[in-house]
Symmetry: D3
Subunit: 260 residues, 6 copies
Amino acid sequence: MHIKDVKSKDIIKFIETFAPPELAIEGDNIGLQVGGNLNRDIEKIGIALDPSLSVVKKAKNKGVDFLFTHHPILKDPIRTFTGVMYEKLKILMENEIILYSAHTNLDICKNGLNDALADLYHLKDVKYLYDNGLGRLGIFNGTFEDILNITKEYITKNPTVVNAEIVNNKNNNSKNNNKKDLKVAILSGYGLSQKSINYVSKFADVYISGDLTHHSKILAEELGLCVIDGGHYGTEVYGLKLFKKYIEDYLNVELISLDF
Amino acid sequence: MHIKDVKSKDIIKFIETFAPPELAIEGDNIGLQVGGNLNRDIEKIGIALDPSLSVVKKAKNKGVDFLFTHHPILKDPIRTFTGVMYEKLKILMENEIILYSAHTNLDICKNGLNDALADLYHLKDVKYLYDNGLGRLGIFNGTFEDILNITKEYITKNPTVVNAEIVNNKNNNSKNNNKKDLKVAILSGYGLSQKSINYVSKFADVYISGDLTHHSKILAEELGLCVIDGGHYGTEVYGLKLFKKYIEDYLNVELISLDF
Amino acid sequence: MHIKDVKSKDIIKFIETFAPPELAIEGDNIGLQVGGNLNRDIEKIGIALDPSLSVVKKAKNKGVDFLFTHHPILKDPIRTFTGVMYEKLKILMENEIILYSAHTNLDICKNGLNDALADLYHLKDVKYLYDNGLGRLGIFNGTFEDILNITKEYITKNPTVVNAEIVNNKNNNSKNNNKKDLKVAILSGYGLSQKSINYVSKFADVYISGDLTHHSKILAEELGLCVIDGGHYGTEVYGLKLFKKYIEDYLNVELISLDF
Amino acid sequence: MHIKDVKSKDIIKFIETFAPPELAIEGDNIGLQVGGNLNRDIEKIGIALDPSLSVVKKAKNKGVDFLFTHHPILKDPIRTFTGVMYEKLKILMENEIILYSAHTNLDICKNGLNDALADLYHLKDVKYLYDNGLGRLGIFNGTFEDILNITKEYITKNPTVVNAEIVNNKNNNSKNNNKKDLKVAILSGYGLSQKSINYVSKFADVYISGDLTHHSKILAEELGLCVIDGGHYGTEVYGLKLFKKYIEDYLNVELISLDF
Amino acid sequence: MHIKDVKSKDIIKFIETFAPPELAIEGDNIGLQVGGNLNRDIEKIGIALDPSLSVVKKAKNKGVDFLFTHHPILKDPIRTFTGVMYEKLKILMENEIILYSAHTNLDICKNGLNDALADLYHLKDVKYLYDNGLGRLGIFNGTFEDILNITKEYITKNPTVVNAEIVNNKNNNSKNNNKKDLKVAILSGYGLSQKSINYVSKFADVYISGDLTHHSKILAEELGLCVIDGGHYGTEVYGLKLFKKYIEDYLNVELISLDF
Amino acid sequence: MHIKDVKSKDIIKFIETFAPPELAIEGDNIGLQVGGNLNRDIEKIGIALDPSLSVVKKAKNKGVDFLFTHHPILKDPIRTFTGVMYEKLKILMENEIILYSAHTNLDICKNGLNDALADLYHLKDVKYLYDNGLGRLGIFNGTFEDILNITKEYITKNPTVVNAEIVNNKNNNSKNNNKKDLKVAILSGYGLSQKSINYVSKFADVYISGDLTHHSKILAEELGLCVIDGGHYGTEVYGLKLFKKYIEDYLNVELISLDF
Ligand SMILES: [Fe+2]
Ligand SMILES: [Fe+2]
Ligand SMILES: [Fe+2]
Ligand SMILES: [Fe+2]
Ligand SMILES: [Fe+2]
Ligand SMILES: [Fe+2]
């Protein structure tokens, strides 16, 4: 891979056109994370879900000098620089690797991570799940089995499922070859908080998201909401791969995947 | 099952001797949850991890009139009574089922949920993991494989494991038939927050707890902490079964298990 | 009394048309308090100022299955259900009595509790006392004695009065048979906080409201504001009786008064 | 009245020995309120419950140069000086009247306002009602009628009473000429908040205090607590008159009562 | 000096037309500070930067009965009146001196303190420095030496300067007789907080304001921002003198300067 | 300079014995700031008041690999790493320079920055100025002129002085060659906040500290407190030089001064 005359600021410009920073929810740590001279020519661009230590090490080893990640390097701020953060920053700074993140703006934007999932499930009449643009809510025409098969093929091999029988019953009670319109909600990443499950249960038959924990599972059972936990990783990497292609097409270079 | 002259207040007295309320961490909603005349004779005692709607329904169907759960009915308070909460309260009140919870006090107390885990893994030199008494930290003499086998047999069939190779390497580098002293931390229920993982990584080789999510997994990988997610359910139900026996021995009656 | 085919949701629909929920001030606990199936046919409707234990018991004894109260069941939320709250909820739930409240929305709305008072005193040029719609401010044409007589006849037999002499002096100094335009403010319920008295003193000659306490009385004296404490009960029940009639006319049934 | 060589600091010294400032509850605005040179000789000492505008005017007219009040001049702080506060401060400052308050420290201290009430009702086995020293709880030997008579004679002519019948029934059920030990709680001033009523209902048969409002009355009824509202004024002025005598005896001068 | 029929309210009206109160930033303690009858005829008007004790004493000694100050009498509110505040209030109230302040509204308004500085430096293309109207940002055509000379002549004899060399270098590198367009920011009073310096460094070559402290100086050095500390006093009094003239012209009287 | 077998952890151990971390006031960002392997041998040790960009650059240029500063690198935490912070961290990390700070613990500890000032002025009967150990209060035997001369010789050439005349008058009124006991308070660094001045005015005749601003100056004038502003830099560097010697004596090496 070699890029002719591409600078950090050019890449950032494309990302910010695709996923406008002003879409991000308040308090999200998006944008330039670590850097640096944005006018330097970039040789290799890396992409990852997380700016983890292993991703940062791989970026260095592969000669990446611009690293895009979906998750920011920090949620909570720090004022001393030791341990793992020291290690990460040292590698990035010594090797002058620019780190840039688009997080909830990439979740929310057109053709972003949530739109990608809505497309994957062929949802119709798609709306925002939340007023701030996070998640999608739409109509799935098919059986619950169909939804599960798509999830297993594209998101994760072994999804956790809650209340499948409730949706199956709906399907069985409908005519027309078990085909039925199901209201499906999706939210890439961590969407299975108790608050979200409570909210989504008012609109959806099926909710696909990630990071299901014990209390959320109990709540979903109580509320009779069918939940598919496709994993935080799985529900985000699907759209991230598509975003990778958007960048590649725009810059006419190949990006280096570092954790997917 | 039949209990001679046992009243709610007698059962509560035993529970509070076993798991003193003053051990609970601040803000935990422990003690009497729903009730009621504590002087009435009790016919049947139920026990469950969660006061979920299905547990409450089973309790009614089986004629339970005193229900003990580890998790409280509510973490955040409410001021209207509708939906699932209405359903639960209605069943409990109509059938005069007393609901009582011992939560972090049962996690912390002698022979409580964390002591049960420490015993299960035959930990030695056992200390509190946190100053408030939550969790345990001790020495395990054996291989990582041994730990995993105990987990699979008693906690959950398919635990999630992070950084197994790091501990395996330690074992391989030690002499004496791969037997080695490993520092093991355990915390029943939800212990795999990023904050906990960060804290535990300073003391332990292996951390067994529940509810691992994406960002916690990444952090554990970065910190080189070996984590075994035995599930919130699995790590709590093990000790809860033992607590069930303590009550049964004391009252000389059989308790009705409702979700384990 | 017997109601043909009236369901809870029909009654609620009328109430919410009369006193739109969106009028309520932020944080007010209005709407459905306890319930339940809103599609069940309702036999008897009760109405009260407070969902007190004695009101709830009377409601049960009189066969009420829909109870409307002006005051909500709780201001501050709870997470255990014991004592008086247990008693109230048990009676309501066992007997499937729906409890519904319209509080500040009923104070504020057209023909609501404050409009009722404004009409009672024949105020002219009536405006909101507060920007949020609470209270009324208008012109009373008459003597202070006239105001007091209306209060004694319709609100409470023995109102507490502060600074009567100040308004009397104004009357005496005016010509025309002591008849004079007085600026009168009214606020149903608890309106005699120090903050309110301070605020009202800038606009009004006379302030009629409820729940006068020591420090408020001293402040009114200092500010020279004439205050009539007609009682929290008195200033609210007057309009509540009219609201009772609105429901009766609409549904063509008689409501059962439970505390007035 | 004439005082030989008495300075403000001498009076303050006596007050602070009687009602030590460190007894006051946190955030209470006690001590020197307005002043001034504390070394000047004092001619006349005034005493009042409230530093109201009318009290301040009377103080000036009667030549008072040291004014003691139970209530502080302000609870919430200010940063502009206009209106009534301007008037009060102007009079106090122009006439060099020192204003000094002992509030919760005088409520709490030995022989203070609450002890005065405990003595009035001849309570036995007297304890603090609250851990911070506010209020008193003791045993009254007699009928409820006896309590009411004392209240009417010494506190207020027309006390408001809630749940009298509950205590009367207790009396009637006891032998020995209707004489019975009643648990009586007293709290001078504003003690009839919902929080206090809830708290006191756990210990006392009868609760005597001031400033009863609608919601507190309903709560007392529900909890079956007998409440006597003797008025904020009445329950404080009784002890304040005794405190006046203590000062007079100590300084051998007569104090000028300004609002009682 | 003698004023014909000028009342406080007339002076206030002029001030509030010149410096509208609604321009003030939230939480600023502007407007009437101490007073009083605003309908009384005013004999002498005083003006000062600070309502300090010495200013208040001078005001009294010179017979001032209306005192205007830029700084309010208090930023944080109080609830006892002792010490220096007692002294100030006593003098003001005894002598019925009205105290009135226009603070950030006078900083912000047209021809106010910041506009005065923008004019002094002949800035062109002047904009607000902050969105709320505080400060000014404009183009200075000349050398850094020119800026310094104006500062020394009109603001303060010995300004503190940081990073002069950076701006000098810019001048030297430009042609045209060292004349160059410099971006100059000004903020009257306390403008040299770290937050402000950080903000201003993104727009300006030179920043003129007051109250430079150690950490701010270090930050300015790091950011390469040239800072001139003209003093809180110096940067405010310059415009205050002009405001004095505006009042004098309007009322056709001479004001008494009390601290400048 | 060359150090035999000295590691970062050895230097840190000495610093923490001299200035125990537990002395620091809550929330102070002390200790290891940036690093790193603490077991590496150290060649050169640098010392500075501030970890400013120019100090960091000098440290690199002089081959420093352990840098001690009094001020921490950050007060408020951050979560992106750009601009000046990027530059500083990059230099420190690339060159593996350990940065370590002792701030309020060095102010407070025995022989720390405040003790150094107390010794400089030969104060007697020295106590903590604040309960937390910050500042010193003691007796100076001499004239105000003596204090000023010491300040000019050792702290700063041109100190700002407020209310000198008040202390001078005290001196002149005392006998014994103008020698008099003066109560002197000192506080290294930023001690001239309005809050501090108010507090110190109750104990001291003279207050020596740094960072005087306009409003503090006015307050000191009003309170009649004599203030000497010796500068934040001056009042801290005096003791820092002594601390440098302590390290040099202990490690038997010369430290490199970077900003003093
Ligand atoms: Fe995510
Ligand atoms: Fe749990
Ligand atoms: Fe009300
Ligand atoms: Fe009181
Ligand atoms: Fe200012
Ligand atoms: Fe400092």
